[in-house]
Amino acid sequence: MTRQARALSRRRLLQGSGVVAAAALAGIDPAGLRAAPRAQDAGKLTFWVISPFTPDENAEIFKAAKQYQDEKGVEVTVESTAPPDMLNKLITAVRGGGGPDVVSVDSAWNATLGAAQILTDITDRFSPISDQFFPGPVETGRYLGKQYAAPWYTNNVALFYNTKMFADAGIDSPPATWDELVEKGKKLTAGDKYGIMLGGGGFGAFEFWPFAWQNGATLISEDGTQAEFGSEAGLEAWTYYSGLYLTDKIVPDDIKSANQSWDQVFAPFIQERAAMVMSGDWAIFAFKEGNPGLEFSVAPLPKGKEAATVIGGYNLGIPASSKNTDAAWDFIAWLTAKEQENILQAYNRIQARADIVDSEYAKKDPLLQVFIEQSPVGRARASVPTWDEIENTIMADAWDSVILGQATPEEALSSAVKQTNDLLQG
C-alpha cells in the first residue's frame, strides 16, 4: 500500500464514529478543535438568523427564503438561534469547520469576528454597493479597513416621552438640550414619579456613548490601543450622565436592577412612573403591549455640542468555513437590496439603506420616522475585537459602581480607562 492510500484508508476509518472516539482517546487530534468539515451542497445555503425573526413557521424570513429559491434556484435553509447564543454558537461551529453560509451578526461583534477570521473578508464584493447604505452601519461591518459584513437592519437610540405626563406638568415639548433635559426632568419628578429612566449595567454603558460623542469625545483611538472616552470631554459627559441619577435625582431607583433586559429599563415608563426613557425602536411594541393606554411620543436625543446617537442592528456575513462564498454573497446582496424592504418592514425594523429616509415606509409611522431621520447622526461604536468586554464588563461595572454608590463617577471612569487600556494593549 502506498503512503497516500494508507493515509486515505485511515481517514476513511476515522469516519466511523467509534474509531474517532478511540482516536480521540489515543490523543489524535491534539488541537482538538479541527474536526472534519460538514459536507456543504453547492446548490444549498444555510442561513443562521436570530430567533426574533422566526416566531412561527409563516414568518416573513421563511417566505423570503422561498422567494429567493424561486428566483435563483438556490435552496436556503433558515435556522434560528436566540440572540444571546448566536456569537457563541457561531464561533464554536466555525472553529469546528461547520457553521452556516450566511449569518446574521450583531454589529457590535464585527471586530471580534473579523480579527478571529470567523467571517470572510468581503471588501471587494461590498465596495461597489457600499454607498447605498448609511455610513454608520457600514462602519460597524468594518475592521482594520476591511469589510466583514454588510449592514442589514439598523436601529438607534432616541428619547421616548409620556405626552400625558408632560402635559400635566405643563411642559409642551420634549427636551432638546442637556440643560433642558435636567430642567424638564426635575419638573416631572415628584413623589413616586421621575423624569427619566436609564438603564443599569451594560444598558447604562450603551446609552452613555451618545453623551460622550455629543460632547466631542471619542471612544477608542484610531489604532485601537488607547481608551479615549476618559478624556476631559468624556469625563464631563460621564459626570453629566451619572448626575441625572446621583445629583439631579430625576431617575428612579429601578435603575439599579435594570441590568438584565430592556424590560427592566422599560417598566417604570410603562407604569407611568418615569416620564422619559432612552431606547431604540424595539421599545414601541413593548410599550403598546405593556400599557395599551400609554400616551407617548418619540424625539431625537437631546443635543450636546453636536447631535449624535448610538446605533445597533444586525449585519450579514459569510463564515470563513463556508464553501459557497459566491452563492452566499449573492443571497446577502439580494436580502439587503431595496426590493426586499418589505421583509424587514414586516418585523418593524429599519433597513440600513440610505434611501429609506425618503421611502413611503418612513412616512407611514410617525414614531419610526424619528428613528429613521436620526439615522444619519448615528455612530458606530469602536471596532476593536474586545469591544464586548469593554462595553459589557468594564464599562457596565463602572456604571454600576457609580449608581450603586461604590465609587465616584471620576474614580469609576478612570478605573475603566485603565482596565480598557490594559485589555487593548495586553
Binding site: 464514529s17 474536526a35 412561527d56 435556522e79 436566540a82 447564543d85 410603562i270 431604540g280 403591549e289 405593556g290
Partner: protein, 276 residues
Amino acid sequence: MRPTTRLQLARHLLAAGACCLIIAPFLWMISTSLKEPAEVVLREPTIIPRTFAVQNYVDAFNRGNFGRYFVNSVVVSLAVTLISLAIATLSGYAFARYQLRGGKAILLGILATQMFPAILLAIPLYILIRNLGLLNSLLGLILVYTSFALPFCVWMLRNYFLTIPKELEESAMVDGATRLRALRSVVLPVAMPGIAATGIFSFILSWNEFLYANTFISSADRRTLPVGLQSLIGEFTTDWGLLMAGAVITTMPIVVIFFFVQRRLTQGLAAGAVKG
C-alpha cells in the same frame, strides 16, 4: 383540648404553613402565565389573573414551538431512563452479588465521577461530541445524560439488590435458569420499587438539564424544554406571561407524574440511597 391533639394541630399548622411558602412561587408562575401583557407589568400585581387568558399557552405552542420541545424532552428523558436503568441494573447486580476483586474501588470510582464539576467537562465534552458527529443531535444529549445519571443509579440499585436475599435466584438457578434469566424473572420483579425510584431520578435529571442541552443543540427543532424556555427570552424584551406559560408546560408533566409516584420514590430511596 388534649395535649396530643394540640400537638397534632400545631404540626398541621406548621406543615400547612411550610407548604404554603413552598408552593407560593409555583402558584405565582401559574398565575402570571394566565395574564395578558398589560396585566403582567402592573406596579401592584394582581394575585388572581383578571382575564385568565389562555393566549400565552396558545402562543407557547404556536410561536414557541413547545410541542416540538416537549416531544424532544420526552424522547431524551425516556431514552436516558431506560438505558441507564439497563446498564445500571447489570452493574448494580454485579456489585451486589459478586465478590469482585477491586470491586469496592471501582464502585467508589464510579461514585466519585458525580463530583466532577460539570463546567470542567463542558469544553472537552463539546469537542468529543463534535468529533463523534453528535453535535446538535438528541443522541449526543442521551449519551451525556446517561453518564451523569449512571453513578447514582448504579449505587441505588446495588444497595437495593443487597436487600434482596440471594436465595431467591439461587433456587431459580437450581431449577436450571441461567443467571441473567434468574435476574430478569426473579430479582427484577422484587426490585421494582428501587428500580422505579432510580428511574424517576434519571428522568428528572434529563428533563431538567439545561447547560449541556444549550451548549450542544443549535437548531430550534432539537431543543429540549428548558432550552426552549430560555429561548423565549427575547432579543430586547421578554414576555413574562408567555415565559411563565412555557415554565408551566415544562413543569407540569413531571409534577403530575411525581404526585402519583411520590410514595414509591421515598420507599425506594429509603432502601437504596441512604442505607449503604
